[in-house]
Amino acid sequence: MNRTLRGEPGVSVVVPIVERYGDLRQLYHEFSAELTRLGQSSEFIFVVDDSQRGALPILRELQKESERISILQLSGSFGESAALMLGLERARGEKVMTLAAYFQVEPRGIGPALAALDDGVDLVAGRRFPRIDSFFNRVQSRLFHWFVRRLTSTDFHDISCGFKVMRRRVTRELHIYGGQHRFIPILAMNRGFTVREMDLPQRNEDRSTRFHGTGTYLGRLLDILTIFFLVRFTRTPLRFFGLLGLFLFLAGFATDLIVAIQKVVWNTEIADRPMLLLGVLLMVLGMQTLSLGLLGEMIIFTHARNVRDYRVAEVIRRVPPAPPLDIATEPAEPEASSRTAFQAS
């Protein structure tokens, strides 16, 4: 309606070009053709990392063909999460789609994904399935996702797939940084959004075996841990660190107690025993863990006013001074944010 009048597209497609890119021209043509076929107006936002400047000439040319393309050229290398965030911020469509800069999935998967959004799902995460990858790719992906599932108690199989479709209210609440772009579905779920994983046919171009350096794998492991803490313990750091610290402290204490008893009963020479040192070390470590947890808890506690424990989907209330007593219903799906929670009535 008035949305189209204002020239807002139905679907914004964000393509971060950070690590590598494939045939962008074909990517654009196939996906925009599919969107047009589905009757969706669209805009494409290409976010180009400084390291991938080679993509710019191609994009410029594409831009001449269509005015629905915007290019965001970053002044440096800030990583995929940053690129994605910048792209998402510029997206004007009510539905936002993210794509990898190379073919991962067949465009024909868009239709069902968009349809799911209309069914009340907030975010659809693509899963390349059935996979036609090399064996090695599948194994590393399996292992990675097994870890993720265990640590976050979610049920995703392919969160590294760049294809995601979400409502804009999801993007408004996401604040990702570092390597968190992979975990968008998990973070969204944690915020109370409805998230669904959807099988999409994998593209042939996505088959090549990918060996990453050890650093990459280490980085991923750290990412998983970050998410684990973000999802589980950001509200109550003390519960985790406190218990861990207490355990360490008690272990150290017990060790030293045994050493002391041995000294008293059997008169074992205490000064030659590394056990004594180990006990002390554990106690110190335990205390440090505990106190850091406490500090974390204090940070949250003192900023409690800004940290909401809950997310409101909707508030129904009547209009404040109400001679004609009618009901003001917020729109069915308002900008569900803490702002709604505070509407002064």
Binding site: R191, V284, L295, F301, H303, A304, R311, A341
Partner: protein, 316 residues
């Protein structure tokens, strides 16, 4: 607005209608202006549409809907955030509390109490459910010095201005009353009616004593540490200072007395260093914590609920 009634609901599709009828009847008989705030804590059953229907039918009903299940504390906090009444009453959504007790609660608030707690003296639950609750209450009483019999009873009345300043933390709704009384709020316990559960299952178990204990400890610790961070971290570091001194003394003693031909052990000097390190660490953390508190918006009065007396106190 005189009275706000806050009810957290989680999968209560069977009881919502009956609850509404009972609460409305009880509230109307009070002859005061009131609002009913129903907080749907991410129910998966038909609670939400039913609450929506009630909102449409009765303008005094206000619905707050969570995106997902966040727990009773969050639900009550949300209710507090939306309550505008001079008095705020909370009660359970499962019909086990009796809305006819409203009058009794309000009467005591009018007498000048800040918090009035319901006490399910004659509790209609199984013993296996009552026992952990008894232990937990004893524990809370011992730690806060406020011997309230039944902290788990949701049926409570609060003075509105106090509630609006409260920030429920973790599972804090259970010991909100003791925390308030710690800061000088006048509380009163009244025996309220308790009825057996008519519909569904109990959802908010009270059997996790260790959790209550940990939460309580956390909050007590937080309150002390946030009020005087450097001092408390300093206190925490004292044992390590003592340890450093002791280990140092032993090292020196051994150094002086050891026979020249014996191999010299580094165990005690190492312990000295470790303890000194921990001591320094805690002192530095204390300074850092001081900084954190300064940067944060923590005000002791806000969190611990200072009670305002005299004109203006009751009117907000």
């Amino acid at each position: 607005m005189d009275v706000s009634i806050v009810i957290p609901l989680y999968n209560e599709e069977e009881s919502v209608e009956a609850l509404y009828a009972e609460v409305t009847a009880a509230a109307e008989s009070l002859d005061r202006e009131y609002e009913l705030i129903l907080v749907d804590d991410g129910s998966r059953d038909a609670t939400r549409p039913k609450v929506r229907a009630l909102c449409a039918r009765d303008p005094r009903v206000k619905g707050v809907f969570f995106r997902r299940n966040y727990g009773q504390t969050a639900a009550i906090q949300a209710g507090f955030d939306h309550a505008r009444g001079r008095v705020v009453i909370t009660l359970d959504g499962d019909l086990q509390n009796d809305p006819r007790d409203f009058g009794l609660l309000l009467q005591h608030i009018d007498e000048g109490y800040d918090v009035v707690c319901g006490w399910r003296k004659d509790r209609k639950d199984s013993f296996s459910r009552r026992l952990p609750s008894i232990i937990a209450n004893r524990l809370i009483g011992a730690l806060t010095g406020t011997p309230i019999h039944d902290n788990g009873c949701t049926l409570k009345a609060y003075r509105g201005d106090i509630v609006r300043r409260a920030r429920l933390y973790a599972e804090m709704h259970r010991f909100l009353a003791p925390m308030m009384s710690l800061s000088g709020a006048r509380y009163k316990e009244v025996v309220v009616n308790h009825r057996a559960r008519q519909f569904g299952q109990s959802k908010y178990g009270f059997s996790r004593i260790w959790k209550v204990f940990l939460d309580l400890l956390t909050i007590k610790m937080l309150l002390s540490f946030t009020t005087r961070p450097a001092a408390w971290f300093g206190l925490l570091s004292v044992p390590f200072l003592v340890g450093t001194m002791l280990a140092l003394a032993i090292s020196v003693y051994r150094h002086l007395t050891i026979l020249p031909y014996m191999p010299y052990s580094l165990v005690f000097p190492s312990i000295t260093v470790l303890f000194a390190f921990a001591f320094a660490h805690l002192i530095i953390l204390g300074v850092f914590a001081e900084l954190v508190v300064k940067v944060g918006d923590f005000k002791q009065t806000d969190t611990i609920l200072a009670v305002v007396d005299g004109p203006g106190g009751m009117q907000s």
